[in-house]
Symmetry: C2
Subunit: 522 residues, 2 copies
C-alpha cells in the first residue's frame, strides 16, 4: 500500500496517528493511506510567504508561463501512470481519466501559452491611460500585480488532477504560491502529480505545496492577502466562508459549489434533426461521464410538454444501454461513485427525487457492477426521474444528487418559462439550450445569463464541433451565481484576477510610461 | 425642524417611535428628525425586485445612461440648496460641501457619459469571441447582464451626496435597483437629493428607494443575487460580512473600510522644489479637508530621516495657520467633526497616537471654534504626531483616527523600506509618493501596488494639474486590500462589475453574432 506524504516547508512529510485509507471504488480494495496529523501548517504558510511568494514575484509573467509549460509537459510525460491511478482510485473509465488528467495538462498548457504573450514584465498594465486633467498633464492607469499572500486551493474529490491544474495555473501565473489540498479520498493522483513535479526539479522553492489529507489548522493561518479557492459542496463552502479567521481577516474566498445544471430543448426541434441528436448525445454524456460526478453535469432536463413522452423514451433507451462496472474491464462505459459516502448520498437523493415524481429508469437499488466482486463497489444505476409539475417539485431544483441522475420535466415552450424554471435552481454553473430558432434563443439567452455562469447553445451549426456542456475550457468562465457559489475561475486572463491586486496609478504621463515599462523587455 | 421620511415601496413614509435627531455640528442645534421604526423593509425589497429590477433591465444601457444624466442635471439645478444643507448638517466648509455634492453630480455625469457610448443594448459583450474548436466552427464569448437582485447601498456619514452618487451611478447603469441607506447623522442631504429626484419624476418606479435612518431588518431580506455595498468602519464591515443571512445566501458584499493612507517623500526632494511644494500643499489639504473625515485622508507621513525636522516644522507652521470654526463664517477653513461620538473617538485616538510618539501641534484638548457658541460644536485641532520608530508604533498603523490627524515618521530613504512601512498599515486605499527619481519611483510603485488601491505620484510634471491624493475619480479604482475592506468601486466600466453577472456563451459563430446583436442599434 502506498503511503502519501505531504509536501510542506520544502520536505515530504508523513503525518502521525491513524491514517485515512484510499480505496479502489470498484472493488473496495485499499490502495493508499495518508495522515496529516502533527504537520506544522503554520510553518507551511510561512514557507509559502517567505520563499514561494518572493520567488514567484521576482519572475516575469513570461517566466511564470514557462514554468506552467514545463509543469504541463512533465505531467504529460507521465500521462499513462496518472491515467492508471485515476482509474484505480477514482473509479474512472479511461475516458473519464483522460478528461481529468488531460484537462489538467491542457489547462496548464493553455495558461502557459496565454502567459507567454504577456512578456518579460512583472507588472501588468490593465487598460489604457486615462486623462485626469484638461490638457492631459495628469493621467491615470491601472496595473495588476500578484497579491502578496498565499493561495490555498481546496479541491473536490471528482477532479484530483484538473482541480489542481486549473487553480494552480491561474495562481502561479498571477504570481502567488499555492498550497493544494485535494479531497483525501482521491488524493492519490494529486500526490503523484506533485511528486512528479518535485522530482523534475522545476518548481521554485515554496511555490507549490501539498497537504495530502485533512487540512488540520491550515485555514487558521490565513491572512488578508491570501486567497482561499474552494471547490466542493455548498455546505462546506458556507463553513469556509463563515470561519472566524476568514471573516476577521477578510480573506478572499472563491467558491464553486452545488449546481443544478439544466438542459433545455427548444420547441419545434424535429425528432430526426441534428440538433435533437446533439441534445440526446450531450445529455447522456453529461449524465454518465464520471458517473455523473461533475459539477457541470446535467441534473434537470426541460422539454416542451408535447414532446416529453418521446424524449423521455429516447433517453431511457440510451441510459439502459450504458454498461456499468469496474473500468478495468474495457467493455465498461460507466464506473462506480467514488466513495461509500457518495453512494449513500446518491441513493438517498434518488429516493428524494422519486418522491417528487417517478423513476423512469434506474433507481436507488444496489447494483453489482460488471467485472466487480459480488456486493462490492459503489455502483449506481443511470437514473432518470420524471416530474410533471416542475414548480411543485422543489427538491428537484434544490438537491444536487451527485451521480448519474437527472429529472426530466415539461414546460409550455416559451423562452420566458424555460428561463424561469431554470432559475428555480437558484444559480447554476451552466445551462444548455438546444434549438435553431435565433429569436427564441436570443430571448432565453438574456434571461439565462443572470442565473448561469455559462450558456451552451446546441444548434445545427455546432453539432459536429461542440464538446458538450460539461467541458470546462480555460478561455471561458467557470463559476455561477447563488447556489453555485458565486465564484469566478478561468476565462483566460480574467482567471488571474482572483490572485492579483489591481491598483490605479496617477501621475505625469511621461513618468507613467516609464514606470509601466518596468520589467518589460524594452 | 424637518422630518425626514423614507422613500420605500413607492411612497414617502414616516417611521414610528422615538426619532433620531440630526444636528448642526458647529452649534449642536437640531436640524431634523427621522425614524424608520415600523417600516416594512421586506415590502421595500420586493418593490425593488418586482418593479425596479424589471424596469431597469428593460432599459438599454444608453437609456440608463440618460437616466443618470437626468439625475446629475436635476441635482445640479438644486446645487445651492444641497450645498447649504451639507454645510449645516455636515459641518462642511463651502469647499467641503462642493467636494461632496459636486462629486455626486460629477460621478453621475461621468457614468452618464460612459454609458452613452455603450449604446442601445441590454446585453453587453465582454471581450472578443474565442475559437473553441479547430476551424472555428464552435466559439465562445462573454457577456455582462444586470444581476437579477437588489443593490443595498449603505453609506458613511462623511459623504451623504457623493456616497449615494458613486454607488448608485454604477448600480443603476448596470441595471440594478438600489435602496440607499445613508448614515442617520447626516441623512439630510441624501434625503433631499432623493426627494428632488422623485419630485422631478425621472426615476423609474422602484429603481431608487431611501431608508432615511436605522436599517432595521432590511438586511434580513437579502438574497443570493443581491449586492450589499458598504462604506464605513472596519468593525461594521465585519458585522455585515458575518451576518448569518449574508453568509447563508452568499450575498455579494463590497466593503470600503478603515484605511491608514500614507504620504511618502522620496529622498533628495529639494526644499524649494515644485515637488516638495506639492507634497506640503497636498498633505495639508488631505489632513484638513472635511476636517480629515475622508477615507482617503493622509494618516501616515514617511520622510527621509535627515529631513524629518525641517518637513515637520513646515507642516506644523501650515497646520497652525488653519482657521477652525463654524463654516457659516467665510473666514473658517476647517469645520467641526460631524457628531459628538466622532469627536470622542478622535480625541481618544489622538491620545493613543500621542502615547506612541509626541504631539508636535494640536492635541486632544477641547476647542471652541470661531463663530461657534462657547463650549458647543465638535471641533478638533489639526494635529501632527511624531513617532521616531515606526516599527515600534503599532497603533499608528492600526488605528484610523477619523479627524485632521496624522503621524510623521522617519525612514532610511530606500524604496524597499518605504514600501515595507506603508504595508504595516495592512492594506490602504491610497498611497502618495512625492519625488522625481524615476528608478526609485518604479521600485516603490511595484511594491506599493500590492498593498494600496491607488498610488498617487506627485512629481514636477503634475504640480500644476494634480488634484491631490484624496480625490476619488470615476475612471479610477476606489478600494484597497486588507484593512481597507478588499473592495473595488468605480474604475470606469469595471465599477459596474459588482452589479453585473458575467456569463460565457458557447455556440455557432454566426448564431452568436446574431444573439449578441440583440437590442443593439447595429
Amino acid at each position: 500500500m502506498i503511503t502519501l506524504e505531504s509536501f510542506v516547508s520544502g520536505r515530504w512529510q508523513e503525518g502521525a496517528g491513524e491514517p485515512s485509507i484510499l480505496v479502489d471504488p470498484s472493488t473496495e480494495e485499499p490502495l493508499a493511506r495518508t495522515s496529516t496529523e502533527g504537520l506544522d501548517f503554520g510553518a507551511a504558510m510561512r514557507w509559502a510567504r517567505e520563499r514561494g511568494g518572493p520567488a514567484l514575484r521576482a519572475m516575469t509573467l513570461a517566466e511564470r508561463a514557462a514554468l506552467l509549460g514545463a509543469m504541463s509537459k512533465t505531467l504529460r510525460d507521465h500521462r499513462d501512470e496518472l491515467l492508471d491511478l485515476a482509474m484505480r482510485n477514482g473509479g474512472n473509465t479511461t475516458g473519464d481519466a483522460k478528461f481529468d488528467v488531460d484537462g489538467a495538462t491542457g489547462t496548464l498548457g493553455g495558461y502557459a501559452h496565454l502567459g507567454q504573450s504577456l512578456g518579460e514584465r512583472r507588472v501588468l498594465p490593465d487598460g489604457e491611460p486615462e486623462a485626469l486633467s484638461r490638457g492631459g498633464g495628469w493621467v491615470g492607469r491601472h496595473l495588476l500585480v500578484p497579491k502578496p499572500g498565499v493561495a490555498v486551493l481546496v479541491n473536490a474529490f471528482n477532479f484530483p488532477a484538473w482541480g489542481f491544474g486549473e487553480k494552480a495555473a491561474c495562481a502561479l501565473l498571477a504570481g502567488m504560491p499555492v498550497i493544494v489540498k485535494p479531497a483525501t479520498s482521491t488524493a492519490l493522483v494529486t500526490w503523484r502529480m506533485i511528486r512528479i513535479l518535485d522530482e523534475a526539479g522545476i518548481l521554485p522553492e515554496g511555490a507549490v505545496q501539498l497537504v495530502a489529507g485533512p487540512s488540520g489548522d491550515l485555514l487558521d493561518h490565513l491572512d488578508a492577502q491570501d486567497v482561499l479557492s474552494f471547490t466542493g459542496s455548498a455546505d462546506t463552502g458556507l463553513k469556509l466562508r463563515s470561519a472566524p479567521r476568514v471573516l476577521e481577516r477578510n480573506v478572499t474566498v472563491n467558491v464553486e459549489a452545488d449546481s443544478l445544471n439544466s438542459a433545455v430543448l427548444a420547441p419545434g426541434t424535429a425528432a430526426g434533426s441534428e440538433t435533437y441528436g446533439l441534445f440526446l448525445k450531450d445529455v447522456i454524456r453529461e449524465m454518465t461521464q464520471k458517473a455523473g460526478q461533475k459539477c457541470t453535469a446535467v441534473r434537470r432536463i426541460f422539454v416542451p410538454e408535447a414532446e416529453l413522452e418521446r424524449v423521455a423514451a429516447d433517453l431511457v433507451e440510451r441510459l439502459e444501454a450504458v454498461v456499468v462496472g469496474n473500468p478495468a474491464d474495457p467493455e465498461v462505459q460507466m464506473g462506480p461513485l467514488t466513495t461509500a459516502g457518495q453512494l449513500r448520498d446518491a441513493r438517498a437523493g434518488i429516493e428524494a427525487l422519486a418522491a417528487a415524481g417517478r423513476v423512469l429508469t434506474g433507481g436507488p437499488e444496489p447494483l453489482t457492477g460488471r467485472a466487480a466482486p459480488e456486493g462490492k463497489g459503489y455502483f449506481v444505476r443511470p437514473t432518470l426521474v420524471r416530474a410533471d409539475d416542475p414548480r411543485a417539485a422543489a427538491v428537484v431544483h434544490e438537491r444536487e444528487v451527485f451521480g448519474p441522475v437527472a429529472t426530466i420535466m415539461p414546460y409550455g415552450g416559451s423562452a420566458e418559462e424555460a428561463a424561469e424554471l431554470v432559475a428555480l435552481g437558484g444559480g447554476s454553473l451552466v445551462a444548455s439550450v438546444y434549438g435553431d430558432d435565433a429569436a427564441w434563443l436570443a430571448e432565453v439567452l438574456e434571461e439565462l445569463a443572470g442565473w448561469n455562469g455559462r450558456i451552451y447553445i446546441g444548434s445545427t451549426g455546432v453539432a459536429g464541433a461542440a464538446l458538450g456542456s460539461g467541458m470546462v475550457l480555460p478561455m471561458l468562465l467557470h463559476g455561477g451565481p447563488g447556489r453555485a457559489g458565486n465564484g469566478a475561475e478561468l476565462a483566460g486572463l480574467a482567471g488571474l484576477r482572483l490572485y492579483q491586486r489591481r491598483a490605479a496609478v496617477q501621475g505625469d504621463p511621461a513618468l507613467l510610461e516609464r514606470l509601466f515599462g518596468v520589467g518589460a523587455e524594452d
